[in-house]
């Protein structure tokens, strides 16, 4: 389907000139008594026309990553200055609020989790789509209404023209999310961030929305950053996947590789804890303990306390991304890898990489 041979070659081509390149993104929240490192040194690329997924449990920092890219982090949160977000060759972290406005919408659009709340209840759907058109594309009046009708039709809403005059509460959940997508498409973005866009929806509706997103991507050459906690959804839609845990990316890989050959103990455990097709006799695997709040610097592996394979150094050495598995582009941040080395050699290698990257910064 979307991941046919040709599509994946396209994606590889795109990656040489990624549309979005995030490097060492650090977003912290200052509360009265602690500093929460919601996103801690996250790096990834999104190539042109490809869908990159971020998957993680609640509190892993995936939504904060999206908001950081959109420049929507507000006090008491802050994107630290070491971070770099480069969109289409332009560095976003240096932009003023005013400059950011021109990126939002026409450059990067965002679809939020709850379509109920992301539409303003007191304006008609048409009004809100026309606003997108007016702000980003200077289309107003009769032309805007026509374009809005076209967009609603494009996202699969029947009787589109009449629907324009209806208020969000008159739409069903799935329709509302379609309307939000139409509203974002009206901005004509090159890049779309979808933050759990199907979580609030039923499966059959979710399937409709996922199909719609794939279709739109193909038609418009959109690049998508897709954020979800659902392994099934990510398997369905993403070309490449980043797995987040406690503010960090612990493993990244092309989607088949990740699901077929997961390496990081967390990814493995996560995949095995999904009931899926396991029969009752096999039993489910569980991960002991809780997801920690990342409130101290990452000078160790944050998964170590829950990891069945943890050894002493896991508490001492921050793991770095190293190549694992057969495919290129498959890396994991775990002291167990590269597994062809001895334990001490592995630890040394990780320390070495860590030092290199700090030197780069200073």
């Amino acid at each position: 389907m979307a991941r046919s041979q040709s599509a994946s070659t396209d994606a590889t081509d795109g990656r040489e000139d990624p549309i979005l390149s995030v490097r060492d993104l650090q977003t912290v929240f200052y509360t009265d008594d602690e500093t929460i490192r919601a996103v801690d040194s996250v790096s990834f690329d999104v190539g042109r026309g490809e869908t990159v997924g971020i998957v993680g449990e609640s509190g892993s920092g995936k939504s904060v990553t999206a908001r950081s890219i959109m420049g929507l982090i507000e006090s008491p949160g802050k994107v630290l200055p070491e971070s770099s977000i480069s969109f289409d060759g332009q560095e976003l972290t240096d932009l003023s609020e005013k400059q950011y406005q021109s990126i939002r919408g026409s450059g990067i659009g965002m679809v939020f989790q709850d379509p109920q709340q992301s539409l303003n209840p007191v304006y008609t759907v048409g009004n809100q789509i026309r606003e997108s058109l007016a702000v980003n594309r200077d289309i107003t009046g009769e032309e805007a209404t026509e374009e809005a009708t076209r967009l609603l039709r494009a996202v699969g809403i029947p009787d589109a023209k009449r629907r324009l005059d209806e208020y969000p509460h008159e739409f069903s959940g799935g329709m509302r999310q379609r309307a939000v997508i139409a509203m974002m498409l009206a901005c004509d973005p090159d890049f779309l961030i979808c933050d759990e866009p199907t979580t609030a929806l039923d499966v059959t509706i979710q399937a409709q929305i996922l199909d719609l997103l794939k279709e739109l991507q193909e038609e418009r050459g959109l690049s998508i950053l897709f954020i979800t906690h659902d392994m099934g959804v990510i398997a369905d839609i993403a070309d490449r996947v980043n797995v987040m845990y406690a503010g960090q990316i612990v493993e990244k890989a092309p989607v088949e590789e990740l699901f077929g050959n997961p390496h990081h103990p967390y990814t493995r455990a996560l995949l095995r804890s999904i009931p899926g097709e396991h029969s009752r006799a096999d039993g489910l695997e569980t991960i002991e303990g809780q997801v920690p709040t990342p409130n101290e610097p990452a000078d160790h592996c944050r998964f170590a306390p829950r990891c069945p394979k943890a050894f002493d150094d896991c508490e001492e050495v921050p793991p770095q991304h190293v190549a694992v598995g057969d495919a290129e582009d498959h890396t994991a941040a775990c002291l167990l890898y590269p597994d062809d080395l001895s334990e001490t050699a592995r630890v040394e290698k990780h320390v070495e990489i860590a030092n290199e990257s700090t030197e780069e910064h200073s």
Partner: protein, 362 residues
């Protein structure tokens, strides 16, 4: 639901409320230990006089037997609903209550009108401003202003302001500024605020039609005259509006739809004007409608301090009279107005907030 049906339904629900309110007032006045006969006739009354008056007031029938309470009740209530308010007992013997009320109406309307205009004109903008500048010095100053206005007793404020404006007071220049006016008593200019242009003079029936044209001179005098009293009367509503306005703005500003609008690239100014503004009005509606409530209560005190001959003063003297028909008539009118306000508030809601479909609000 159709709007007409809805209004009918609301009116139907209002009837028990109205009957309860009137019954309560009736019971207080008729069961309570007050003696209108004594107050009307004074101490020197002869038993014959008393007997005659009691008969005239329908306390006893022609045979001298006391009229049962329920009979009195039905008579009073049916008269009220037929808008037959009867004659005054004490205040102006034998004058129709309706005449008394109509004579006193203009002063109260003029006072009430300006107090609402002033409260709205100051309170709402200050409240919205405080919400937009939340947690800054300016917010604290504006909110503080609202809190103090809310806490100041009307009658005290009236005493202080009228005191300061009287001769020798710190604000006595107010009397002589622009045109010299009184500040206590009923504005005598009220009688000729408008000139009636009779457009069909001479034509039978149609000559009753006229267009009121404002007279700038008397109007300004009457305005200046009433301004201090109106300011006082509107003070607590003003405080309420600041407070509720502020929280409404804050709530709207932190909503998801504002974040979505930001993600569309809409400028902050436009977001505030369009997305925040209308949503912030919704919680203000009951406050504004509730002002009527404060007006009626407050007008008794403010009119008494400023010596304005309005309905508030009339009510006060009627109660002290005790002039039962007058009190019942005024209570009836207040209840009716109150209920009409409540219904119109519900209707207004359906226009301002499309989410509220008719019939869902209680």
């Amino acid at each position: 639901m159709n709007r007409g049906v809805y209004i009918l339904k609301r009116l139907g629900l209002a009837i028990p409320v109205m009957i309860f309110g009137i019954t309560m007032s009736f019971l207080i006045l008729y069961l309570g230990p007050i003696d209108p006969v004594g107050s009307i006739l004074g101490r020197q009354a002869t038993p014959a006089d008393i007997r005659q008056l009691r008969m005239a007031l329908n306390y006893i029938d022609s045979a001298g037997n006391p009229v049962p309470l329920w009979e009195q009740y039905f008579r009073v209530v049916s008269d009220l609903f037929l808008l037959d308010f009867g004659d005054s007992w004490v205040i102006q013997r034998e004058t129709p209550v309706t005449t008394l009320i109509i004579n006193r109406m203009p002063a109260t309307l003029w006072l009430g009108f300006w107090s609402v205009v002033i409260a709205l004109g100051v309170g709402v903008p200050v409240g919205l401003y405080a919400g937009l500048r939340a947690n800054t010095f300016r917010d604290y100053a504006s909110s503080g202003f609202g809190i103090i206005w809310r806490a100041m007793p009307n009658f005290w404020l009236a005493v202080i302001i009228s005191g300061l404006i009287t001769a020798g007071g710190a604000l006595s220049f107010y009397r002589t500024a622009i045109v010299e006016t009184q500040v206590t008593g009923t504005p005598d200019a009220l009688g000729n605020l408008f000139t009636n242009v009779e457009i069909f003079s001479g034509i039978p029936y149609l000559e009753l039609l006229f267009i009121p044209v404002p007279n700038p001179g008397p109007m300004f005098v009457a305005f200046k005259w009433i301004l201090p009293a109106a300011l006082v009367l509107g003070s607590s509503s003003m405080g309420n509006e600041v407070r509720i306005g502020r929280t409404a703005v804050l709530e709207s500003i932190n909503s998801k739809y504002v974040e979505t609008a930001k993600a569309k690239g809409v400028s902050p100014r436009r977001i505030i004007a369009k997305h925040v503004g209308r949503n912030a009005i919704i919680p203000l509606l009951p406050v504004v409608m509730g002002e009527f409530y404060l007006l009626i209560g407050g007008s008794v005190l403010v009119e008494s301090v400023f010596g304005i001959n309005g309905l508030g003063n009339l009510f006060f003297s009627a109660v002290l009279g005790p002039d039962i028909p007058l009190v019942m008539a005024l209570v009836f009118i207040f209840i009716v107005i109150q209920i009409l306000f409540n219904i119109s508030q519900d209707l207004l809601y359906t226009y301002i907030d499309p989410r509220i479909s008719l019939g869902e609000s209680e």
